[in-house]
Symmetry: C2
Subunit: 525 residues, 2 copies
Amino acid sequence: MAACVDGSLERPFARCRIMTRPVFRPIFLTLALCSLIPAQSNPAAAAAKTWRESHEREILSEFRDLLAIPDIASDSANIRRNAEFIRTMYERRGVTMRIVADPGANPIVVGEIRAPGASRTIALYAHYDGQPLDPKEWVTPPFEPTLRDAPLERDGRIIPFASATFPLNPEYRLYARSASDDKAPIVAMATAIDALRAAGTKLRSNIRFVFEGEEEAGSPNLERVIAAHRDLFAADLWLICDGPVAQTRQQLIAFGARGIVQTDITTYGPRRELHSGHYGNWAPNPAMMLARLLASMKDDSGRVLINGFYDGIEPLSATEKRAIAESPDVDSDLRKELWLGSTESSPRRLIELLQLPSLNVRGLASSRIGAQASNVIPSTATAALDIRLVKGMDFHRITERLIDHVRRQGYFVTDAEPNAETRMAHERVARIVAHEGAYNAVRTSMDLPISQEIIRVVESARGPSVRVPTMGGSVPLEMIERAAGTRTITIPIANHDNSQHSFNENIRIHNLWDGIELMAALIAM
Amino acid sequence: MAACVDGSLERPFARCRIMTRPVFRPIFLTLALCSLIPAQSNPAAAAAKTWRESHEREILSEFRDLLAIPDIASDSANIRRNAEFIRTMYERRGVTMRIVADPGANPIVVGEIRAPGASRTIALYAHYDGQPLDPKEWVTPPFEPTLRDAPLERDGRIIPFASATFPLNPEYRLYARSASDDKAPIVAMATAIDALRAAGTKLRSNIRFVFEGEEEAGSPNLERVIAAHRDLFAADLWLICDGPVAQTRQQLIAFGARGIVQTDITTYGPRRELHSGHYGNWAPNPAMMLARLLASMKDDSGRVLINGFYDGIEPLSATEKRAIAESPDVDSDLRKELWLGSTESSPRRLIELLQLPSLNVRGLASSRIGAQASNVIPSTATAALDIRLVKGMDFHRITERLIDHVRRQGYFVTDAEPNAETRMAHERVARIVAHEGAYNAVRTSMDLPISQEIIRVVESARGPSVRVPTMGGSVPLEMIERAAGTRTITIPIANHDNSQHSFNENIRIHNLWDGIELMAALIAM
């Protein structure tokens, strides 16, 4: 796979779009605009900043076009449109792209830039699919990118794109599904290429781009596809561009990420909903059963009560413990921002707790509430759970332990919809369905030379960083490491308050600008 | 309020529709068709049966027309259409009707038949509004009455009305919202008037009809409207025609009904949904909090753990205890029908448990489950509860006790949506909203002469009855008794397996036929 831009970004090939050099801006203006940005000693990042300042409108326009393509992993037609869009986007920049479309898998869009004489290859990963959603919950449609002059929570008003003035106020937000998670890095990397080319920056590493299309569906095929095309994916290090930066707005470097298991638990009451007056006190209530079952799983302080849940966890090294100790204390600000009167396992800090596994109820439903509620004993009740794993835990074993726990609460457990016979044969029946796409946590040692180099490059571009051994969110790093024979470090760019995975997802414009500079520094490292 | 039919149902007034006398049917045919009906010694009931057998098509047609009018209490326009329809329906039978439409209340449709020389007045109550619903849950639209040759659960096939053959197979079901709850009695009473007129039956009691239009909304105005028009509603006894008969298909007579309090409890987590990876273990999960809260309210055996929940309950009399002991044991058949592997408070029987108060979770919701689930920590979680009360309990006090219980679990309790300040000031915040329309239980002594007479009349029409001191379901008997200065006895006609209050509500045709005979016997008593 040859690259149009092949290491010397000075030399535009005939088939590449010719980029104009950025207009000079006096330093004092730049400083005034960016007084909050820490000192930047990285020349690639500085070049990216200069470039961005005179191309904000074009960057935003390309980003909007990408966000306007619906991107739920199950929506194959639109997923394909996203992949084609990204291919074209990078091809325009001279990167020869390839769409790896294996049967049964959403396409992975890959690209490569070879640097003559480079002795190593760095891969940059992002995903172009977004979390499933319910459009009714969104204030503006999820695939109609909408600019606001502040977050919705602070009554941000819509700024029509036609009337936006540039340079943009970097505190503006762009609302759309995947604005943060995870299309922003795709646009940031593309813009970084433009900027490096304009600055004539010479690359030192071969660079690969890998854009996945089903990460939010649990990356069910990533490992298989990488393994089948290992030459396209091999690298000394994969930089995973996903997730949010620190709540202080400092750059975060995560040396690992938690693994994940998702399960649905359904409890069963009467075959059909019953009148709660005529049967209440006699027919078992599956919602109450589910409440008891969930309550049995965690104690008041947030500790998971499933037997063996914490077994086998690999302890943190001295460097990792020090990184946590040195991380800024954001908890009290966060509590204020999130209206929290308390936190689990208080007074332990967020960053510390994310180094542990968690069990989370991500959704609950049984019959109806609100205006549609009626006086029934529900027939079933369902909880959607996610368990986050840390290094040393095995997702198969954790799923088994969860099932064992439910059994110990007196349930007959099945993974299929129980029929009449099953339901009558047991006092309590629970259906537990473990979703596909579970994976384990991984953690790259902070003491490795490449880890130390990444810290230096990132800090030269973005100032003092927050370094976490394990990021709270899950990315399929295990599969990547195994299939591509590599190690991973995660470099997110999104603002922490981006409503990622929920409705009204957004990106703070400042974070997109920062991301462009960071990507330039990493591509040039 | 003069009645066209005024006690001597022989004398059709000029403005009444002329009813033809029923065609004679040989006794052996009648017996063959109705071999499952117990011996019937009541002449009014027998006349109703004869009449019905030759008018099934017309009865069904009128019933369908009534069911086709949407009847959710909040749908004022359609509620008004229902009221007008019922007024016309009874006026056609010579009953002078009146619509009592007080400001802010759904109309109550009332009518009266005076029997010359009668020394007492019997009121017959039913309601024409239906439970709220979600049409998506229904197999056929809730307001398009659909005939099936068996229940849906037994794969009943649709019988188009045009091709139905009469006499109808009495095991057929008619599916529609309010088919059982509670429009069937309205049609049964109207048909009973036709039959009594045709048979020339002379009435002995003044009869009132009272059809309410917001019972499923908790009868928020019933007491006020009755009190404001006491002359229209006064009676020696109100017969409440609502609810299901016994599971054995025997006629049920309930001398009281449980009261009801409905509340919604909402727990609060972060201000907005958070990514469960990046915050899971630290941000409190309102779904888990709600689970723990609900679990704290009931023990494993179904006993409610709220302090003082069972205080003040009026004990059952010897007659009441005997009635319960004599009631048929339906539990094991019911368990089979409902696919239940266990029941609460086993081995105590359903009828026995319905004499106690209950606390029921009627709905649960937090974020999303299924295909729309996403990996979030929900922002709120809500449970819709209903508490059923028995005689001696006070709904105000029970609501207070529920609130106290939640407080004792460490919650700050508010009835308004808590703002940022409130949420940050307390470790745990719960919003408890008690719905309007709560009321207490009432119980009429089985030992009263009028109670004993009702038992005799009902059994002469429908064979051995099941007599329960308190029916499980709630009807606003307390308000009726207080406002109309009367006592109440409940005589339901619907099949127990009618999916009342849920989707796919239906009535078994046999129950409608039985109801017509029962109403004739009661009107003629």
